[in-house]
Each structure stands twice: as C-alpha cells, then as structure tokens.
C-alpha cells in the first residue's frame, strides 16, 4: 500500500527557506491589523450589544483560540497514554 521513499534529496523550495515562515507571519499580522481596523468602516447590525465592540470577533477569536490550545495541552496530563495502551 505505501510507496514511500524517504532517502531522496528534494531541491529547496521557497517554503523551506528559514525566512519564509517569518514573511508569512508578517503577512498575517498585516492582514489581522487590516481586518481589525475594518470595523471602523461599516455599520454593524448586531443581535447582541457585545458584537458592537470594536474588533469583537477578532478579540474573541484570538483569546478563545489561545485558551483552547493551552487548556487542551493541560488535558493531555489527564487523558494521554502510551500508543500501545489498549494493545
């Protein structure tokens, strides 16, 4: 089924260059800033008052994502076992 060969050397791609990850992150920072300040340029039609906060969805997305990952990391202490646990 598997047809893998892990021995070959692949020519370096743009994504493999050390500074590429940095460039992608900077692009993301710029995008986030643009989206955050986009709230100033349209009228909101919200169901809840909290949605009218400036950048509500941005702050919500960031804070809860950090919270999700860090709490899932702690969950590992409780539920993570060796790979052959059930064998």
């Amino acid at each position: 089924m598997s047809q893998s060969d892990k021995s070959g050397d692949t020519p370096t791609r743009w994504l493999d260059r050390p500074d590429s990850a940095k460039k992608i992150c900077w692009a993301l920072y710029v995008l986030c800033a643009a989206l955050f300040f986009a709230d100033a340029f349209y009228e909101k039609h919200s169901h809840y008052a909290v949605e009218d906060w400036f950048g509500f969805y941005a702050i919500f997305g960031f804070v809860f994502s950090i919270g999700l990952v860090l709490s899932a990391k702690e969950l590992r202490r409780l539920v993570m076992r060796k790979e052959d646990y059930y064998d």
Partner: protein, 529 residues
C-alpha cells in the same frame, strides 16, 4: 411506475448484482447506480409511494418531501464520490458493502414509517461494518465488533421505542415524535447514539479512523447524517437538543487539538460539526432547520473531501499520524490544494460552503435569544479552524519535512477530491440552488459586509493565535500516543472489573473445593482449635 421503486433499493439490489459483472464493467455499472437514483429523485413528486401491507401494518417505503429529498440528493452524490474515490481497489467486499450501506441509508431517509426505518437503520450497521473488517487485521475485527454492538444496540432501542409508540398511538408513521412518552425517549437515545451525542459518541472516534482508506470516506457520509435527518424529522424544536448540541460542538475540539491520528482528528471534528446541526434542530425554527439541513449537505461534501485527502496520504505514505508526517506538499501538491479547499470550507471562509450554511444556525440561535449557545458555537467555529483548518493541512503537508518522496494520489482519488472541492466552492459562491431545495422557503442573505468581516476577523485572529503559539513553542507537539475518551469505560475499566470479579469467583471455588477434600472433621478442627 417510477414511484414503485424505493431509491435505496436501486443501490442495495444493484450492489449484489454487480458481483456478477467482471472487471471495469462492474465499476461503470456501480457508478451508474447512484446517477440513476439521483435522476429518479428529480422525477418524483411529493407524496407517499410504495406502500405495502405486512402483518396488519402499512409500510411506506417511499415518502417524498423536501426534508427527505435534500438528504436523498446528498446521499446519492456522496455515494458517487465515494465510489470514484474507491475505483482503484479490487476488493469487491468493500465496493459492495459501501454501495449497499449507502442504499440502506437512502432507504431509511425515504422510509415513511417506523418499522421500515428500523429495518434500514439496522441494515446500515450490518453493511457498514464490512468497511472496517475489510482492513483484515485482529484489531479491525475487534473495532468492528464494538462498532456493530453499538449500532445494533441503537436499532434495538429504536424498535422498542417504535413498538411502544405504535401501541400508544395506533400509528406507525414516522413524523414528529417528541419526548412525551417513553417510546419517544428511547427513540431519541437511539438517534442520539448514531448522531454521537456526548457520552454516546465514542464509537465514532473508535471506529472510523480504523476503517480502510476508502471505507472511512463512505462511513463519514451516511450514518451520522442519517441520524441528523431522523432528529430533524422526529424532534425539531425539542429544546434539550440545543444544549446537547452545544456540548457536542465544544468538547471534541479539545480532543482534536491533542490527537495524533489525523483521521481521528477529523472524526472529532465530524462530531463537532454534528453539534451545530443538533443545535439547529433543537431551536426548530424554519431558519434553524434550514440551517441544519444545509449544513448537513455542505458538511458531507467537505468532510468527505478531508477524509479523502487524509486517505490519499495514508495510501501513499502508509501513515496518517501527525508525528510522522510533514512536507508532503512537494510530493502531493494536488492533494494538498484540495485538502486546503476542504479545510477552508469546514472553517467557514467566505466563498466556501461552510460560510453560507453554518451561519444560518448561528443567526437562528441569536434570533431566538440563545446567547450562550451562540457564544459556544462561535468558540467552536474558531476551534474547528484550529484543528481541521490549520492542524490537518499544516502537519500533513507542511510543518517539518519528513523527507517522504511519494507519488501524487491516484487519478481516481484526485477526480473524486476535485469534484467534492468544486461543489464546496460552488455552494460557497452561489448558494441559491442549495437554498432552493431546503425544507422551508429561505429568507437569508449570507454575504453582508458585517458577516464577511466578522468571520474573517474570527478566523484570521484564530490563525494569529496558532502562529503565536507555534513561534513561542507553546503549541503542543504531535506525539505518538493514545488519547483516552469515554471508550475507556468499556475497553479498560469494565473488562478489568469483570476479570477481577471472575478471578475472585475462581479463588472462592478453589477454596470450597479444598474444604470439601479436607472433610468435615478437619474443618471442625480448624474452626475450634
């Protein structure tokens, strides 16, 4: 004339006939079946057809209305895509089981009475287990047995509940059921088992990732969405479903973040997406039911696409563990691109299918004042982007290059993924045809400035959180591990307690036998000296 033939039977009977056809002709014949079935659906008028009398009961094998039709359409599309994805295999067990399983699910969707529903319900269990057993290992055999026990158990509950309801009401019609009687409660547990309600869910994460490369694609489409259909039919507006759905959307994403098997990550994400639909059904307004049905339709496509992409990775590399993968974008660029389309769709990016369907449920939640449910669904939307939108493509195709030099996925897999991806984008860009087949008239506009900006903010800042955690080394690495879930109770806790109890019994029996050999006088000596 065409009404006399229930659409599910086309696939079930056709699947067994196909065994008599050799080679390529069989594949063409099998692929023609869902196309024929889909065409049949387009010809049917709403109504009750194929009614037969059996043991004093009138069974309705074909009930056509908007709710059954939308699930019928997507089930036929999913079976065609799954068959194309499986075209390279020469294992007739998988092909026949897959097609018969799809047929059983379609049969259930069009069943107008509880008895026919039960028969098809059990048939989905019996046919689909072969997609797990087809791996042909001891482990797959054990997983399949556990899967079968749960699925058949769900059917037994359905039958018991149905008999109680028929006795109480004198009618076997499968319509709104509700929770007013014991029968209704039993049937809800039965549907909830297949829909993977919290604590009834773990058969899903236990079994789907252990099926064959192609089997998981079939499995991902039918069983759970059949349960969603059944809930929408029987329990629309049952408020407890809102809170069950809220829990379903939230808890699987924590497990998905730390799970290493990427097909299991997708199964947790499947569980989370079902939660959105269950919330919609619980709210029960026209917009909410439309949202649940539309989301089920879109979900089957992008989830199949994601399972296909991970199946292609497993097929080519022999593993689907995040800790062993990375850098595959070089060898499998098409699979990478198609996986990213699936990831964007499930995450709800504008112009992709999830954006125009999931938002209907969120809007319904806020319109009906379920602010807490709305907030949890929003959190779950950011969460699903983390594990399905970022984690799956990132760890499989990018992250650390593990040096795999493999071939791109076979052409048939690419065609199936390409068609699924095209539908994901088509629905996202032009949702009107999907909205037109929803159960109720649609008065909803997904593309407003506020909705687009708010969703992009949520997703971009969730991505920012991922980037920050990765750059600071706080993101949990992929580790070879087993993550315990509620299956621990029946895989480890109960078997150990039973073994301990049996050992105690054996020791007591040995002791009694020794006493018997010692004789009464010796016992009296022992007791009094």
């Amino acid at each position: 004339m065409i009404e006399a033939l229930p659409p599910g039977l086309i696939l079930i009977v056709g699947a067994f006939f196909s065994l008599a056809i050799p080679g390529r002709a069989r594949q063409v014949f099998m692929l023609a079946l869902p196309i024929l079935g889909f065409w049949q659906l387009t010809q049917l008028e709403h109504g009750l057809y194929a009614q037969i009398d059996l043991f004093g009961q009138t069974l309705t094998l074909l009930r056509v209305d908007k709710l059954s039709l939308i699930f019928g359409y997507i089930f036929f599309i999913a079976s065609a895509l799954s068959l194309i994805f499986a075209m390279h295999i020469r294992d007739s067990v998988q092909q026949v089981a897959g097609l018969a399983y799809a047929g059983a699910a379609i049969g259930a969707v069009f069943a107008g009475d509880l008895i026919s529903l039960f028969v098809y319900w059990e048939l989905t269990a019996i046919t689909s287990v072969f997609l797990i057993w087809a791996v042909r290992t001891d482990k797959a055999l054990r997983v399949g047995m556990r899967y079968l026990l749960v699925q058949v158990g769900s059917g037994v509950l359905l039958l018991t509940g149905a008999l109680i309801l028929i006795h109480e009401t004198g009618s076997n019609t499968f319509g709104h059921i509700g929770l007013d009687s014991l029968g209704g409660i039993l049937i809800l547990i039965s549907f909830g088992t297949k829909a993977a309600f919290p604590l009834l869910h773990n058969w899903l994460q236990d079994s789907y990732p252990e099926a064959t490369v192609t089997g998981t694609v079939f499995l991902s489409a039918f069983t759970t969405k059949l349960a969603i259909y059944a809930l929408a039919r029987g329990y629309a507006g049952t408020e407890i479903l809102v809170w069950i759905g809220v829990v379903m959307t939230a808890f699987p994403i924590f497990f998905a973040v730390i799970e290493n098997d990427l097909r299991r990550v997708l199964t947790y994400s499947l569980n989370n997406q079902l939660g959105f639909m269950v919330v919609g059904i619980g709210i029960g307004t026209e917009l909410a039911i439309n949202g649940a049905a539309a989301h089920a339709f879109a979900h089957i496509l992008y989830k199949a696409l994601l399972f296909m992409s991970m199946g292609a990775v497993l097929f080519r590399t022999g593993t689907v563990k995040g800790s062993e993968l990375g850098g595959l974008y070089k060898s499998m660029p098409w699979t990478t691109g198609l996986c990213i389309i699936g990831a964007a769709s499930i995450s709800g990016f504008p112009l992709f299918s999830g954006f125009v369907t999931k938002s209907m449920i969120l809007t319904a939640a806020s319109e009906e004042g379920y602010w807490f449910a709305w907030a949890v669904l929003l959190f779950a939307s950011a969460g699903v982007f983390h594990h399905s939108g970022i984690k799956i493509p990132f760890f499989a195709f990018f992250a650390h290059d593990r040096g795999y030099k493999v071939k791109e996925a076979p052409w048939n897999m690419l065609v199936a993924m390409g068609l699924a991806a095209a539908l994901c984008i088509y629905i996202g860009v032009y949702p009107d045809p999907l909205y037109a087949i929803l159960p109720y008239p649609v008065d909803y506009v997904p593309y407003t400035t506020g909705h687009v900006i708010s969703m992009l903010q949520l997703l971009a800042f969730a991505a920012l959180a991922f980037a920050v955690l990765q750059r600071t080394g706080l993101y949990p690495p992929e580790l070879r591990s087993t993550v315990l879930d509620s299956d621990w109770v029946y895989r480890r806790f109960i078997p150990r307690r039973i073994k301990g109890f049996v050992r105690c019994l054996a020791e007591a029996r040995d002791e009694l036998a020794r006493w018997g050999q010692m004789g009464l006088s010796a016992l009296l000596d022992r007791a009094f000296h």
